[in-house]
Amino acid sequence: MMKKTLDVELPRVKDALTAIAAGATTAVALTQDCLSAIEQQNPVINAFLSVDKDGALAGAERIDECVSAGSSVGPLAGIPFGIKDVLTVEGLPATAGSKILEGYRPPYTATAVRRLMDAGAVILGKLNCDEFAMGSSNENSAYGPVRNPHDIDRVPGGSSGGSAAAVAAGMALATLGTDTGGSIRQPASFCGVVGVLPTYGRVSRYGLIAFASSLDRIGPFAASVRDAALVLGVIAGHDLLDATSALEAVPDYTDGIDKGVAGMRLGVPQEYFAEGLDAEVRSAIEATIEKLRAAGAQIVPISLPRTRYAVPTYYVIATAEASSNLARFDGVRYGYRAPEAKTLAEMYRLSREGGFGAEVKRRILLGTYVLSAGYYDAYYKKAQQVRRLLTDDFLAAFKSVDAILTPTAPTPAFRIGEKTDDPMAMYLADIYTVTASLAGICGISVPCGRSREGLPIGLQILGKHFDETTVFRVAQTVESLQG
């Protein structure tokens, strides 16, 4: 197991902001610390696919000039971020973890990143991920796997493996990732950091290279709950450029975050504690639930009866939407074009065949199959109906509880290569996260313990649509109760 060999421990976002404002440190110093950590650790961890050293330092200098001049700076001024490579930043590479976009530089910046930049954040570079966000281990990247900083023979989780590992390894103070079926929450759990799943529509998807448009969400990773809440407050909010972005007002997510859980009703669904749950994960989760009970919460056993249908439902809907979204990669306007193609049809086929990895092809084929004539009703329409039933289960549960507590993943981080031979085994590992994805509700994974081997274990807290405030409050309590 690899110990962190950093000379410098990075501060929390909250403390860094205070230190910069007070002149105790500078944005440039903080950025340089991150760049050193990246230089030291990235050759092994492989979290960053591209680093914009000059741009980051220039951005940091601008912040330092404003601070010295006494002019006002934004709520994330000087904070160095990494951005998952499925999000566009104008002028920086965006590969989506795929060979098909090797060398591509987008002509526009994603709204979520634009909002970070307007708030004064420094963009360090782009983070490795499973190809087109399809995967649960970051082993599907065309640019090599990411390694878990807690044990480099293990996966960091996926698809936002780079985003989680960068925070865990002290390469960035916070990062942005995306979650379609668990791709923020599960890597957060495997890497021992905080990862937030905002409600669907809470954060604009403009500039996110789409995987499944009714499921994709952008969210923050950070080392603390408060930091994550701060970042969400900056990136959230309506955007005219995303027709699915919500008009719902954005509260100050840090306001009242310390209120504790006294009087709250927290549901524990029996279906998430059945067979397949690792014994050490179970005991860490149960111990945390007991701490919350001791802190004044009422723990309520609940049932989400149709949970077991969530994985098959997800893999029909997500792959169907992916087959449609990935049709744009055809060698015409951007990305890889097969040089040997003689006709247009050949160009489409050979470019896609040459540029896409095996998992992406598998999902495109599955998605095309379930949408094709003769199968649409049996698979896609059926899945959409079950999606409604799964959502109804949550809506019913939230009538009697304020939030729901579950393990984030059935096991701690598994070994690199352990599940790559069997796609189904990998898909089944998503069991605890895909339910919330389908229902559009919000959630978080917060560290709540370690296995005997020292591997992080995460608690997932799920909340009602647009009730991130309650989720943060429970998570903050969990964090403060950690020994």
């Binding site: 529509g201 009714s214 249908y309 193609a341 160009m347 896609r352 959409q384 109906q385 999606r387 898909y427």
Partner: protein
């Protein structure tokens, strides 16, 4: 459990054609095996009675207890779009204004 694969190889070929993917013989067999396993697993959705259930394609309809009016569209007025030069820089082949591709029509 039937020994026959749920998906036949020529179905894999048909779907690959629809998806504009060119699979080699090895890939075809692997995909046949994987798709069959996944679809076998997905078949359990039939255990649920969904006769009276409306399909849900977008969660938007439940995001506020169903009271939200139609998602507002922006006003129909011309705004700046992406700068063409910046966009065409990414083109594999172009004349600056158009994307160039191999011929479409056989003469």
């Amino acid at each position: 459990m039937s020994a026959k694969e749920k998906v036949a190889v020529d179905e894999v070929r048909r779907v690959a054609e629809l998806a504009h993917l060119q699979l080699n013989a090895q890939e075809e067999l692997a995909m046949q095996r994987d798709l069959s396993a996944i679809l076998e697993y997905v078949a359990q959705l039939n255990e649920l009675d969904t006769v009276a259930v409306a399909p849900m394609a977008q969660v938007a309809e439940v995001l506020d207890g169903g009271t939200q009016a139609d998602t507002p569209l922006r006003g129909d007025k011309t705004c700046a779009s992406l700068d063409r030069n910046r966009v065409m820089v990414s083109a594999p082949e172009s004349d600056g204004a158009f994307f160039k591709v191999p011929k479409v029509i056989e003469r």
